[in-house]
Each structure stands twice: as structure tokens, then as C-alpha cells.
Amino acid sequence: MKSARGTPYINLVVDTSPLGVPYYPTNDFGPLMKGLVIGGLGIFHVFLAQFAIGGGVLMTYFEWLSGKGKLPSARRFTSGYFKVLVLVSFVVGALTGVGMWFTSIQTSPRTIGLMVDTFHWVWATEWTFFSLEVIAGYCFYRYGDRLDGRSRLFLLGLYTTAAWFSLFWINGILSWQLTPGAWLESGDLWAGFFNPTFWPSLFFRTFAAMAIAALVAALVISVSPFERDEQKELLHRAAHLLAPMALMPLLGAWYLFAMPKDSRSWVLGGSPAMTMFFGLGAGASLLVGMYALFGLLLRRLYINSATASLLIVLGFAATAGGEFVREGARKPFTVRETLYSNAMTPAEIVTMRERGSVTHDPYPLRDAADYPNDQVRLGAKVYRFQCSVCHTVGGVNGLVHLAGTWTAEQTRLNVAKLQHTKPFMPPFAGTPEELEALVRFIEWEAASRPKEFEVTSDPATLAQIKRWLDEAGTAPGYAAASEKKR
């Protein structure tokens, strides 16, 4: 059993196959990039889950105001709002949560497997909080209208606390993926859980949850049969939950500076897509924040259902931007310095350079007869194993679009030194023969899949590829760049 940097965590990701690599059947998502599928579902789920948490905070706050006699219409609002929360969040939110597991398995079974192995007791603990959240929530949903104020406040408080702790546990697991911190050295669970981005991420998500809940509240209030004055007062009170947004820039900066340097560089200009999503998240948050300040807190503007809907869309855009950045900034890893985005460990890449990456893959190619020769078939297998998690052939982030116009020599060099070509790419993990096969596969696809296609086997070419692979090494690209700067 090999271990990267001598750490014990790697023990969790071995398999009984000859290479110690588990091979899974890989599905083709057609023109859709797998990351888009999981990203899309993830953003939707995060938005709903945060709504459930913030909704609890909002209703507890309103119930407290009602108990103090400061907001007479609060109880009526809370009952209506909770129905929305149950119908949306308890149903779609809960199921998209399960969906996240299933989609993660479809995208990268090994990554989710490592996460489960490492944090299963944290996840199990989170499940006890989620169960409490559902039970307290349903008790309120069914009996809330017939309960006294104190009991209502107790149930809502319990619901909110459980929901927030659910976030607390999941946040530790998700932030560990980007910044595993001292876990890399010690393998200690708590070192990984309370990692460098844990706290900024937790506070940021908490405030985002409160903001989303306030925006949904604005919509519910605006479509509910309240008197105009009641609506204004409810809106003003709900907007109090938007006030912590003022701290979001600071938390965002804290999060950014807690990130690894290379990840930060993707966000701040190194990767146009990521920078754009960062800008989208920040811009949408800013717009929501400004409306909250002028419209709701300072009461200069009124909010109707159309404006409230628009603000929710902006809130969704901000969530989408933030989640895209969080997912993208991990590149070239899914778990920093442990598993590359194509689910290989750094140590395995060393072995695969010698023994091949797909030699022991038990899954045949689908439509193997469509390929013109064994070399292209091998290339297709290498593509499936190493590239298909982030790339398609001709669709989104397609290899043909990216490399179809390169010369053969250029493709060989760029793939052999992949982590230097693009520092958010993992190193190529295979033999020179596999690399040459991948190059031929790309060329064959770029040539619109001709029936006849020449097999290349020039020993000099393979020797050159080997030299390039050796020069590139197996360390991630950002490590080499840091070395160079030094």
C-alpha cells in the first residue's frame, strides 16, 4: 500500500484490484459535462437547504416578536410561511440531499467513497440532527396552530437549532475538500473538520441562509392577505435578517485568504470562468444587499411580489456563483492533495506511469466495433478513465474543441505535461503508449470518426513522450510553479 507524503488517509482509498485502484463503470452524459449535472443539482439543493435553516431563524424571531407583543401579525405569517417551507424544503430539499449522494456516485464514486469513509460518523451525527429538524418541524406544522406561544417558540427553536447544526456538520465535510489542513499530515478527523475554511464558510452560509429566508418571506408577505401596514411592518422585520449581509464581504475575503494560493488565483483572474462566477455571486449579493438597505431597512421602497421574486432570483444567482467557485477552486483535486479530480491519488499516478491506467479496467468499451483499431480503442478507454469526469468529447468542455486544432506533436507535449499546460489539470497518469493512444483518439474524433485510421507506433515518438512525462513529473502544476518562483 503506497501512501502520499506518508500520511494514513490514503489507506482509505485502496482497492483489491491489481493496481489498488477501484474501477467503476463510467457513464457517458452525452454533451453534458458531469460537473454541470452535479453543480446544477448542488446549487438547487444548497439554496433549498439554506432556505430551511434561515426560515427557522426567521420564524423563531417572529414568534419571539409575537410573544413580546411587538408584531401582532407574526403568528399568522409564521403559519403560512411554514407551510411553504414544508412543501418546498421538506420535500424537494430533503430529496435533492439524497440526490446529491446519488449524483456524486454517478460523477465520482471514489470521491464520495472517500468522503463517506472519512466522515461517516460526522454524517451519521448530522443525520440525528436532520431527523430532529424534521420531527420538530412536523410537530409545528401539524400542531403549531393549536399550541401556546411558549410551546411554539420551543418547537421553532428546536427546529432551527437542529437545522443549523445540520449545516455545521456538512460544512466541515465540504470545506475539508478544499482545505484539508492538518488532516493531511495527521489523518486526524477533527483537524480535517475544523479546517482553515471551516469558520468563514460556516458564517458565510449562515448569513446567506438568513438572507434567502428573508427574501422568500418578502414574497410570502407580498402575496398574503395582510393589510398594507401589516405588510410593511412584516417586511421591515423580515429585512432584519438581511442586515448580516453587510459582513459578507469580510467573510468572503476571509474565505478567499484561507484558500490555497493557487485556488485563490483561479478565482481572482486565473480562470475566466471562475472569476466570472465569483463576480456573478458578488454582484448579485451586492444588489440584494442594496435593495435590503434602502428598501427594507430604511423603508424608502416598497416591495411587491414581482420585486420579491426578482430578489429571490438574484439570491439564487449569488448561491450559484458561490457554489461554482467553491467547486471549481478545488481543481485539480476533488480532495486537496489526496484525490485528483479524476479520482486518482498522487501515489497511484506514479504507478500508472509504469503499469498503465486502464490495463486492469474490467469494463469493455461500449460500441467497441465503432472504433477503427485497437490504438483508438485504447485511447477511448484512457479518455473514459482519466478525462471524462470533467470533459466530453464534442460537447461542453469537449476535447475536440480544446485540442482538435493542435498538431499531433503539440497534443503529445501538452498532455504529457498536462499539469504545466494548465495548472488546474492533474498530471497525465499512464504510459507513453496510453498517451499516444489518447492523442490518436482525439485526432480521430476531430477528423469526424473516419472508418480507416492509421496506427502510430514510432519508437522515437514514444521515447519523446516518455522524456516529457519524466520532465513533467507527477507533482501538481502549482507545486512546480512555486518551486520555479523560489
Binding site: V91, L95, I105, G113, V116, A124, S131, C139, R146, Y363
Partner: protein, 359 residues
């Protein structure tokens, strides 16, 4: 593996197996309520006469959405532990079934909303629409049950993986699928009967009298469920072949098999008592519940033994041992009782402090 389950396995494996089975039992209780409850609701809607009140249908309509939510919530824990126990097999089956498998999520969402739609005045007032809505919900849940059955059988059939992948098929063909699904679906009826019995009993004691005929109907449902599920189990046992039959009553499973069989007898006695009782129904429901617990626990363990003996389980011990090395177990064991107490407190608060609705 000559010791009764979960003994005879290395410590970590036994621990994860026991945790998996116990959490799965909790999921099965709610799942049975949803699956059988939706079926019974549909049956009663088809048989029911317009304008007549139906206590059972009303109860089911009212509680099915919560039961589904509880089933999903309770299902998360076994879903977690199955990933520790059979990671590669479970993931591979998920991947091979692909879109088919992922479809259970929209199916459950649609089923969930259809159950809520049942409660609306709009649907209640339209008998044909009501039938359509319930049929839709039942179809969603049966599809989910079918998918899980396929997933379970595919995960333990490693020899079929590569050829299924090459064939691009997202349907796993196995002659066990439908009989197995039938067994689990009909086996859900006694669970429903016990839970409905308790709900009616509580209502009765809370001052809303329930007719004896309604309790008898529930008892008949439970007894009928036991008979048809027993017949299905016998048929399924004939189908699976001698090796699986031998494992089901082999050293690992026999105490659990006996427990399940004894549970059937106890449960049956409880239902008979409930059918005859004019008072003290709680006693008979308690007996039926005890029997039910043995049946569910016993059958769940036998199911697991059949999986364990169908795969190279010993090869997975090392993986379980590695997973057991990570810390956090005490975190779970600490928070589990705390949150359970809080949950009971919440339920108690709701049940005892809520004003009774006007009759």
C-alpha cells in the same frame, strides 16, 4: 461464518452490519406504511361509495405525507452505512442502472406532492381525480421499490456487471426481481395494520370513538397481509434455489429466521385478539407490535445474510477495519440519545400542549 449474525465477523464488520440493520429496520417501518398505505388508500377509494365517510382512508390521507418524509429521513442512515459495508458493489449497481436509478428522485418528489394533493379540497371533491392522484403516487412508490430491488440484486451479482455495462441496458433482468418485490410489498400490509391500529386506538382513547368494525377491518388487513406475504415468501424460497435456501436457515441466519417465524405467529395472535376485542385493544396491538418487530428484524437479517453469502464478503473486512479507524463514533453515540430525547420532547410537547380541535 458459523456463528449467528452478526457474531462471527471481525469487530468492525459486525459493528457496521448491526448498525446498518438496525437503521434499516426503522426505515422499513415507515416505508411499509407508505407503500401499503397508498395501496390500501387506492383500494378504498375504488371500493368506496360517494358521500360516505371512511375513517381509514381519512387517516391515511392525513398521515401518508408525514410517513413518506419519515421514511426518507430514516432511510438516510442505512444509505450511509451501506456505503461502508458494500461500497464498490453499491456504487457499481448505481452506475449501471444510471438514469433508471436516478429517476427514483423525481418519482419520489412527484409521489410526495401527489400525497399532499390528496389532502386538498380540490382533489377531495373530485372522485376521479382522487383516484388518478392516488394511482400516480402508488406508481411512483412501486417504481422506487422496483429500482431498489434491482439495485440490491445487481449489486450482489458481480459477474453480470461488465456484460450489462457493454449492453448499455439500464434494466437489470433477473427472475427474482418481481417475486421479491411482491414479497416486500405485500409484507408491508401487516406493518400498516399495526400502525393504523395504534392510530385508531389513540383516537378512540382521545374521545373520538372508533367503531369496532374499523378495528376488525385493520385486523383483517394484518392477517391477510401475513397470509399472502407468507405465501409469497414460500414461493420466493422455491425460486431462489437450494443454496440460498440453505443460507436462509444456515448457522448465520437460523436464529433470525426462527425469530421472524415466531414473530409471524405472535403478530397473527395479536391481530386475532384485536379482531375479537371490544376493549383492551392496546394489549392486542402491543402483542402484534412485538411480533412485528421480530418479523421485520428477522427478515431484514435473513435478507442481509443472503447478500453476505452471495458476495466475497471476507474480502471486504479490511475495508471495514480501515473505515473503523476513523474517529467520530462517540460523537454519533453521544448525540444520538440526546437528539432522540429532544425529538421525544418535541412530540410530547405537540401532543400534550395542543388544544383539541373542535369536534
Amino acid at each position: 461464518m458459523d456463528a449467528p449474525f452478526p457474531f462471527g465477523f471481525p469487530g468492525p464488520t459486525a459493528f457496521y452490519l448491526a448498525t446498518y440493520v438496525l437503521t434499516l429496520v426503522a426505515h422499513v417501518v415507515f416505508m411499509n406504511y407508505v407503500l401499503a398505505g397508498t395501496g390500501v388508500l387506492l383500494f378504498r377509494q375504488i371500493r368506496g361509495k360517494a358521500g360516505t365517510s371512511d375513517v381509514l382512508a381519512d387517516l391515511l390521507r392525513d398521515w401518508l405525507p408525514f410517513a413518506l418524509s419519515a421514511a426518507i429521513t430514516a432511510g438516510i442512515a442505512p444509505l450511509l452505512f451501506i456505503q461502508i459495508l458494500y461500497k464498490k458493489a453499491f456504487y457499481t449497481a448505481n452506475l449501471l442502472l444510471f438514469h433508471r436509478w436516478m429517476l427514483i428522485l423525481p418519482a419520489l418528489i412527484v409521489g410526495f406532492y401527489l400525497l399532499y394533493a390528496q389532502k386538498t379540497a380540490f382533489v377531495k371533491a373530485r372522485p376521479r381525480l382522487r383516484l388518478l392522484v392516488t394511482t400516480g403516487a402508488l406508481a411512483c412508490f412501486l417504481f422506487t421499490a422496483l429500482s431498489w430491488t434491482e439495485n440490491y440484486l445487481l449489486a450482489r451479482s458481480e459477474g453480470a456487471w461488465a456484460s450489462m455495462y457493454a449492453s448499455k441496458s439500464m434494466i437489470y433482468e433477473n427472475r427474482e426481481i418481481l417475486p421479491r418485490m411482491l414479497l416486500w410489498t405485500l409484507g408491508a400490509l401487516p406493518t400498516l395494520a399495526v400502525l393504523l391500529g395504534w392510530q385508531l386506538h389513540r383516537r378512540d382513547r382521545a374521545g373520538s370513538p372508533v367503531e369496532s368494525a374499523t378495528f376488525q377491518r385493520v385486523a383483517r388487513l394484518g392477517l391477510g397481509g401475513l397470509v399472502v406475504a407468507g405465501a409469497c415468501a414460500a414461493g420466493y424460497a422455491m425460486l431462489v434455489g437450494p443454496a440460498a435456501r440453505a443460507h436462509a436457515v444456515g448457522p448465520m441466519a437460523w436464529p433470525w429466521f426462527v425469530a421472524a417465524a415466531a414473530g409471524v405467529v405472535v403478530e397473527g395472535a395479536g391481530f386475532v385478539g384485536l379482531y375479537r376485542a371490544q376493549e383492551n385493544r392496546g394489549k392486542w396491538l402491543g402483542i402484534a407490535s412485538a411480533g412485528l418487530l421480530f418479523v421485520i428484524l428477522g427478515t431484514t437479517v435473513v435478507r442481509e445474510v443472503l447478500r453476505i453469502t452471495a458476495v466475497d464478503f471476507a474480502a471486504l473486512y479490511a475495508e471495514h477495519a480501515r473505515a473503523a479507524q476513523v474517529s467520530g463514533r462517540w460523537l454519533f453515540l453521544g448525540f444520538f440519545p440526546v437528539n432522540a430525547v429532544l425529538a421525544i420532547w418535541a412530540i410530547r410537547t405537540a401532543l400534550t400542549r395542543a388544544e383539541r380541535p373542535a369536534a
